[in-house]
């Protein structure tokens, strides 16, 4: 139980609250977060609309190039993204290979426990397209989140007309999750210092349940106090926050290239689909 709690807290702190890569002086870090978000959206839409595995792979290469020039180790990036990709793709893609789900021209036939399984060309093609789509989309999402500070990313969502109050609420959740992570850590240390390392599992469950209740009560109290602090400084129901983003020529150049690359790949993908190239 102790290992689970401390492991989860440590993962949360390292992965969610670390701005290590967002603070580097790399290419994507120097781009206006709003423009970065739009560029990623352009690439994601291209991935969504293409029916060509090759186009998806090309966009994946573009993503890896952006990662490299943003001073993120490509090996580290691959490790980070490939944790999620099997979760989102393989379990869906594998059944799609077989004729049961995707009928078509058989390319391989085998038997498992007397059950005849047929992999079809259409199934393989669909599964490959699905996996490359997921791979590329997850990679763009990860590179965006790694090269942008979380609060900038949230603020950039205003570009898509997401209500300010929604963005501020998420930002505050993010802010206070950290505080509560620290509370959980400290509480855990305090319990350990008083009752030692070995605790019967039933007692442990009781302590955890009690702490969840205590944490919930604290967060409820804090919720009211924070609202008071906001009201005290002029909050009247519609928060006004700082907008200090600046768009520079390089941001527009990136957007232009993103558009150009996407349109070109979509065009080529269309040709590939009809077997002209």
């Amino acid at each position: 139980m102790e290992r689970s709690i401390m492991g989860a807290l440590s993962f949360l702190k390292e992965s969610v609250f670390s701005d290590e890569y967002a603070s580097q002086h790399g290419f994507l870090q120097s781009i206006d977060p709003r423009m970065k978000l739009v560029v990623c959206a352009v690439f994601l839409l291209t991935v969504l609309f293409t029916h060509s595995t090759l186009v998806s792979l090309c966009l994946y290469m573009v993503c890896l190039a952006l990662t490299y020039y943003s001073k993120i180790g490509v090996g580290f990036f691959l490790k980070r993204t490939w944790i999620f990709i099997p979760l989102f793709s393989f379990f869906i893609a594998v059944p799609a290979l077989f004729s049961i789900f995707t009928p078509g021209d058989p390319i391989a036939v085998f038997k498992i426990l007397g059950l005849k399984l047929v992999i079809t060309r259409q199934g393989l093609s669909g599964a490959l397209l699905f996996v490359t789509r997921v791979t590329t989309s997850v990679s763009f999402a990860v590179v965006l989140s790694m090269t942008t500070k979380h609060f900038e990313l949230l603020k950039a969502l205003r570009t898509f007309k997401i209500p300010q109050v929604f963005i501020m609420t998420i930002g505050m959740c993010y802010r206070y999750i950290y505080l509560f992570v620290e509370v959980v850590e400290n509480t855990h240390q305090a319990i350990k210092s008083r009752i030692g390392r070995r605790v019967h599992y039933k007692k442990g469950q009781h302590i955890v349940a009690w702490n969840i209740a205590a944490l919930w009560f604290r967060s409820y109290q804090m919720n009211e106090a924070v609202y008071g602090a906001m009201v005290s400084r002029g909050y009247g129901g519609e928060p006004i926050v700082l907008n200090d983003f600046k768009t520079r020529p390089r941001d527009w150049v990136l957007l232009f290239f993103a558009g150009l690359v996407s349109l070109t790949l979509l065009y080529l993908g269309d040709k590939l689909k009809f077997g002209i190239l």
């Binding site: 609250f17 701005d19 979380h150 609060f151 949230l154 930002g171 505050m172 993010y174 802010r175 206070y176 950290y178 505080l179 620290e182 804090m222 106090a225 924070v226 008071g228 602090a229 906001m230 009201v231 005290s232 400084r233 002029g234 909050y235 009247g236 928060p239 006004i240 926050v241 700082l242 200090d244």
Partner: protein, 275 residues
Amino acid sequence: MTDVLFELKNVHFSYLGRYQALCGIDIAIEKGQRVAVIGANGSGKSTLLHLLDGLIFPDKGSVRSFGAELSEETLADEKRNHDFRRKVGLVFQNPDIQLFCPTVKEEVMFGPLNFGLDHITITSAFNSIMDLFDIKELSGRMPHQLSIGEKRKVAMASVLISSPDVLLLDEPTAGLDPKTSRDLVALLNRYHSEGRTIVTATHDMHIVEEIADVVYVFSRDKKIIRSGPPAEIMSDIRFLQENNLIHIHAHAHGDKTHVHPHDHPSHEHDHKSSV
């Protein structure tokens, strides 16, 4: 005739209708006055400040501010609410409550932005306040990356940037190192010299005489048991001991151990009580 900014008459307040926090409080705070509110833990100091800031309202009794009643109904008026919030600033005891924005810069600018000030005024005020607290390098940091002293400075800056006429401070020196505490006292006195009213709730007996013209002492039963000039109250050692505001302190000088009240404004003390 004196200009009374806040007038509390027979104010009672309880949390959840059960836990009494203030009992029959009568206070009048004049313009430009420096008020210190002292008392043991749980004596109602923070509740009083929240009441003065119009965040909570009494169960019984009346609160008047700037010549008008201060209540939920009067603050429902947008203009009155806006004027009141601009004039009164509260620095909370727990800076984590006050620092709800993602970065220090946004935190400090939150007040002026929500008061509708123009961008040039805000930028200029921001630069001045960050220089004043010497926290310019913290501008892009997130609150969880700050030490307690830095958080407290940012919390102060986020209120002072709006230049409120009345400054309410809840335990402003808690968790601060001695040098920063001294700087804070100097800053408060500078603000006072500009004609501002300052109300400070504190446990820090060292600073009371420097930051107050009048002291209110709260008892454990949530009442004001004494008020008056700080010199008079701070010199009544027995009274302070009875109310948990100072304690007897034993320490050694060479081979001699002696006891004396923990708080002594000047650091010299006699050794008559040596044991």
